[in-house]
């Protein structure tokens, strides 16, 4: 049985500027997903998302970003791009960079391809739709 692609949305729906992931999750949760694609509400978790990555064929994270794009632009970052941002030591705010950096050392089974789809600025309807579309496209990409 092929491993599923997982779209993992992270962020805080109660914090403007950090609510892109939850809004994309809400949009995708209300639609029919292609076969082999799973949707995860990753919430505020960082390191604890390791178990969600394990077993996936591809892990497509969705999160707000800062400093990678012009406002409204959707960007695709590879695991290594995000991992390079880690400050090296785990803290309560370590988040995805720490997780992505450690992943090859701590992942049980085959390490999946990991991507981050992000955008900067208010998570308005058009941006949410564009990010959701990019995440789906990456999830089903052969």
């Amino acid at each position: 049985m092929p491993r599923p692609a997982r779209i993992i949305c992270v962020g805080n729906r109660h914090s403007p500027g950090d609510d892109l992931g939850p809004r994309v999750h809400a949009l995708l949760a209300g639609s029919r997903l292609p076969g082999g694609v799973e949707l995860v509400d990753g919430g505020l978790c960082g390191l604890d998302l390791l178990r969600v990555i394990e077993g996936a064929g591809r892990a497509v994270f969705v999160d707000a970003v800062a400093g990678f794009a012009r406002p409204g632009e959707v960007v695709t970052l590879h695991r290594e791009d995000v991992a390079a941002l880690t400050e090296g030591v785990w803290g309560h705010d370590a988040g995805l960079p720490y997780l992505f950096h450690l992943l090859p050392r701590v992942c049980d089974g085959e390490v999946p391809e990991v991507l981050l789809i992000g955008a900067e600025g208010p998570a308005e309807t058009a941006m949410v739709a564009a990010v959701a579309a990019r995440a789906l496209a990456e999830a089903v990409r052969p």
Binding site: V10, G11, N12, R13, H14, S15, G17, D18, D41, G42, G43, L44, C45, G46, L47, D48, L50, R51, D63, A64, V65, A66, G67, F68, L77, V82, L85, T86, E87, G88, V89, W90, G91, H92, D93, G95, L96, P97, Y98, H101, L102, R105, V106, D108, L116, G118
Partner: protein, 512 residues
């Protein structure tokens, strides 16, 4: 007159929204101000929402203590509804909370605290090479092993709650989901594996052997007893921590608080005090007295909130941001939580002192509170929880996992409070329901106690006080300050998660 200059010094992991201003004289901290720089605002966000909304909203305050806030919110609503939670509901709620505790304790101890022993500041210490091998950021053998071994334990919450993360399975009257016995047997497997690893790696001995350590002298005997003890993470914490002088850092006010936590089921083989596995109480030094919840207050004299000076009980207090322009007098978005009008520290060490634990009482009486004792309490707390977790799991399975919920009926108007011990210490939700909606919601987090600014009387908060006397050998690498602050396990920033280009650093500002 001494020339004063202000230096902004980056320090990792004092969180992006915590700033410390330190006044240093002759290389030693002589005064300290702790500033939370971000308005949280969850209390205001909840006003006017449905009575049950705290169960959904408050778990999103924190990515690490999500279940903890859920439990506290549920207990506040239990009180309002007059709910009696069936024994299995109590056991499964407790189990979920304890999972969060034991994971947090081990991760903090190794990934956040012991990792500092690999700091270049300790290059001259004979054990530094070993510290680097074990705890170097991202590559140390203990770092990698800890991440691997702590990742599965949260599956217990998912199996009990039927969902993870940010589950809302605790409701007034118990649980909204009744796990199957087969799922609970899986929980037992995960729990047993975690305990076996914890004993082998972290303690270096069985939990039963560790529990026999009941004094400073017994601790020394334990450390000398075997290579397994010395090579464990607890053993290394003691060996390196003493060599680095951590048992002489971070004294504080000497006042300790525990709300009490983990309600005992009506019928259980577990033993506790006053209906809790973790006892409630307040201690001045090692003298413990009963907890009086009416003695809790919040001061805002040094915080950016509108209110009269003087403390208000959280059932009366408000959270109205007020950018006063009174820079200097007001300097933090954290309020000053006080007990009997004075500061009190909370957390695993305070829990053990309030519980009258013989080891930590002896350490307190002989050495005073210190950074090493606080972290020792944290790293060994799972030894006090894991056996009861297994017991309660077995009791639920033996009873067929039935009766996890008793309908309390609709939530009526009224007031209630949920008070528990989070991983980092005392957590309370004070809730008022009016016309079926939330009329008031006040939250005091553990960092509201430990990281509080000055109160109406100008008295420092616990970690402000604990920093007094801390040496700062290198202003560019104030590792000693980090030890003191991290021994309290500060938590302010969990709701900010954006992937950000560039480094995000908290700052320590030194005035020298």
């Amino acid at each position: 007159m001494a020339v004063r200059k202000i230096l902004d010094i980056p320090i990792n992991r004092v969180e992006g929204d915590l700033e410390l201003r330190l006044e240093v004289a002759d290389g030693v901290v002589v005064d300290a101000w702790s500033a939370g720089t971000m308005f949280r605002g969850f209390e205001r966000l909840l006003i006017g929402r449905g009575a049950l909304d705290g169960l959904v909203v408050t778990p999103r305050i924190c990515g690490i203590c999500s279940t903890t806030h859920l439990m506290t919110a549920a207990k506040a609503l239990d009180a309002i509804a007059g709910a009696t939670v069936p024994d299995n509901g109590v056991r499964l709620r407790n189990l979920s909370l304890m999972v969060e505790h034991v994971q947090s304790d081990v991760r903090h101890g190794i990934l956040m605290f012991l990792v500092d022993f690999a700091n270049p500041a300790y290059r001259a210490l004979p054990m530094h090479e070993e510290a680097v091998r074990r705890y170097a950021p991202l590559v140390g053998e203990a770092i990698v092993e800890t991440v691997r071994e702590t990742k599965r334990i949260i599956e217990i919450i998912a199996m009990i709650g039927g969902q993870w993360p940010h589950s809302s399975f605790m409701v007034p009257g118990g649980l909204s989901y009744a796990p199957q016995v087969t799922e609970l047997l899986q929980c037992r497997h995960v729990l047993d594996a975690f305990r076996a690893w914890y004993e082998r790696r972290v303690l270096g001995c069985s939990i039963e052997r560790w529990k026999a350590v009941d004094s400073l002298a017994a601790l020394d005997v334990w450390l000398d007893e075997s290579a397994a003890h010395r090579d464990s993470d607890v053993g290394f914490l003691l060996r390196f921590g003493r060599a680095a002088g951590l048992d002489r850092l971070g004294n504080g006010h000497g006042a300790f608080l525990s709300y009490g936590s983990l309600d005992l089921p009506a019928e259980t083989a577990a033993q506790g005090v006053g209906g809790h596995l973790i006892p409630a109480g307040f201690a001045r030094g090692s003298v413990v007295e009963a907890l009086d919840p009416t003695a809790i207050s919040e001061h805002v004299a040094a915080s950016w909130y509108a209110a009269a000076d003087g403390g208000l009980h959280p059932s009366e207090g408000k959270t109205e941001p007020y950018a006063s322009g009174e820079e200097g007098r007001r300097y933090s978005w954290v309020k000053a939580a006080r007990y009997l009008g004075g500061p009190a520290e909370t957390g695993p060490f305070a829990e053990r002192v309030v519980a009258g634990d013989p080891l930590f009482t002896d350490l307190l009486e002989r050495q005073g509170a210190n950074a090493l004792a606080r972290e020792l309490a944290r790293l060994t707390r799972p030894a006090t929880l894991l056996p009861t977790m297994a017991l309660w799991l077995a009791e639920v399975v033996a009873s067929g996992a039935r009766d996890v919920y008793a309908d309390p009926g609709p939530i009526t108007d009224g007031v209630g409070v949920g008070m528990i011990q989070a991983a980092r210490g005392a957590l309370g939700h004070w809730v008022s329901i009016k016309n079926g909606r939330i009329d008031r919601y006040q939250i005091i987090t553990p960092t509201g106690w430990n990281g509080s600014p000055r109160d109406s009387g100008g008295v420092r908060g616990p970690w402000e006080e604990a920093l007094i006397g801390t040496p700062v050998a290198d202003a560019d690498n104030p590792v000693e300050v980090g030890h003191v602050i991290r021994s309290f396990d500060p938590c302010l920033v969990c709701s900010v998660h954006t992937v950000r280009k560039g480094k995000t650093l908290g700052r320590v500002r030194l005035e020298a």
